[in-house]
């Protein structure tokens, strides 16, 4: 992000940026930056908090009134209560990833059952929010599930829409995850971001499918699948917890 500030400003366009990782921004020295103490993915603090978002935005805009730079200012407020991530605590615990009592050989059917069970909650979320972020793959949720689950077999589905196998699988998996996240957020309990992430990775069959796919990607001769195995399927926090659990066992 700091690089874009340099590039645009060199061309005569004034910029003011949100900084999520202060130390990196301090090193890059962009023209104007507002560091915010919010979780990655939430540069304006919290969803459905328009007053708070407006205060962050106003502070960001006010940096245009500064006569000289570079400017790196700290936003003084934490995100509103209820917006904390809690990943530090949730993923510090040993993980089992085995709550769903399903044989590895039957993950495909279990995934489809789980998707069907979540459907009413997904539908409710979509109705309440009047939107859904599912749809990157263009396959529909059942199609995305079938495509992803095919990697559990010896003959994965062919890529679609002219994509590489890796990109096609990534989009199918992103759709699946968005479906689960949106569905569970509609359930009672007002789940925080960390709760949702914890639920997905610790309690769902989908996570078991993802972890199995990760191994397939790491061992595949198709190099387009390697990034999924390494970094773009399983979050660092989950990977770290798995590694620690394995080390301690």
């Amino acid at each position: 992000m700091g690089a874009l500030g340099h590039f645009l400003e060199r061309e005569g366009i004034a910029t003011s940026q949100i900084s999520l990782i202060r130390e990196q921004t301090a090193a890059l020295k962009p023209p104007r930056a507002l560091w915010v103490p919010f979780m990655l993915g939430r540069p304006f603090g919290a969803p459905d908090e328009p007053d708070f978002q407006r205060r962050v935005l106003h502070a960001l805009l006010m940096l245009f009134e500064r006569p000289t730079g570079p400017v790196l200012e700290d936003f003084p407020e934490d995100a509103p209560e209820g917006a904390s991530h809690e990943a530090e605590t949730t993923f510090a615990c040993p993980v089992s990833f085995a709550k769903a009592a399903v044989d590895d050989g039957k993950l495909d059917a279990a995934l489809k059952r789980e998707i069907a069970q979540l459907a009413p909650w997904y539908d409710l979320a979509k109705k309440r929010r009047r939107r859904s972020t599912v749809g990157i793959s263009g396959l529909g949720i059942e199609g995305a599930a079938s495509h992803a689950a095919s990697y559990l077999d010896s003959t994965p589905a062919a890529p679609y829409a002219g994509l590489s196998a890796g990109v096609a699988l990534k989009r199918a998996c992103d759709d699946l995850k968005a479906y689960y996240y949106e569905a569970v957020a509609a359930q009672p309990g007002n789940l925080k971001a960390g709760d949702i992430e914890h639920w997905f990775w610790h309690e769902t069959t989908a996570a078991r499918v993802f972890l199995a796919i990760q191994q397939v990607c790491l061992n595949s001769p198709d190099k387009s699948l390697l990034p999924l195995g390494r970094i773009s399927l399983v979050p660092r926090s989950v990977q770290h917890a798995l590694t620690e659990a394995k080390r301690q066992s």
Binding site: A3, L8, A14
Partner: protein, 155 residues
């Protein structure tokens, strides 16, 4: 993000180790301009957002997508390749990443001059220096739209 002191050591190392990989941009450019209440503002995000029927971002993509100002929030989706940031906030409320509605409110209150007709999105996982050609192109487009203030929003 959360303060470095508050996150696990392994995650702290991950972020701090990246500092050594950052390019040296030399002297920071700094463009002066009119008061905020006279500025025309656009949002440029690196969240990998795009209109639902637009092309999704490929891994490492250094190009941008146009987000017309009249795009309904329901039409915005995200195809960022990273799995290491929260998406549940964006799924609930676009403005936590792309605060166009908040910007319009500030413009209606005369706190900023006007809101651009076009906004733009990159995918933040692109190699940092690969963004420069498209950023230069973007600057030219922003000038044609009369934009003299760009808000940069990462994830």
């Amino acid at each position: 993000m959360v303060r470095m002191a508050d996150i696990p050591e392994w995650e702290r190392h991950h972020h701090l180790d990246k500092i050594g990989e950052l390019p040296d941009f030399g002297i920071t450019p700094f463009v002066a301009g009119p008061p905020l209440r006279q500025r025309r503002v656009a949002i440029v995000t690196t969240a990998g957002l795009h209109v639902r029927n637009d092309r999704a971002f490929d891994p490492g993509a250094a190009d941008y997508r146009i987000i017309p100002g009249d795009t309904p929030p329901a039409d915005l989706v995200m195809s960022h390749t990273s799995v290491n940031f929260d998406r549940s906030g964006f799924q609930e409320d676009v403005n936590v990443v792309f605060p166009l509605e908040r910007l319009r409110e500030l413009a209606a209150g005369k706190q900023v001059g006007s809101v651009s007709d076009y906004h733009y999105s990159f995918m933040g996982a692109a190699p940092i220096l690969a963004l420069e050609p498209k950023a230069r192109e973007l600057a030219s487009l922003l000038k044609k739209d009369g934009v003299d203030a760009v808000l940069l929003s990462p994830v």
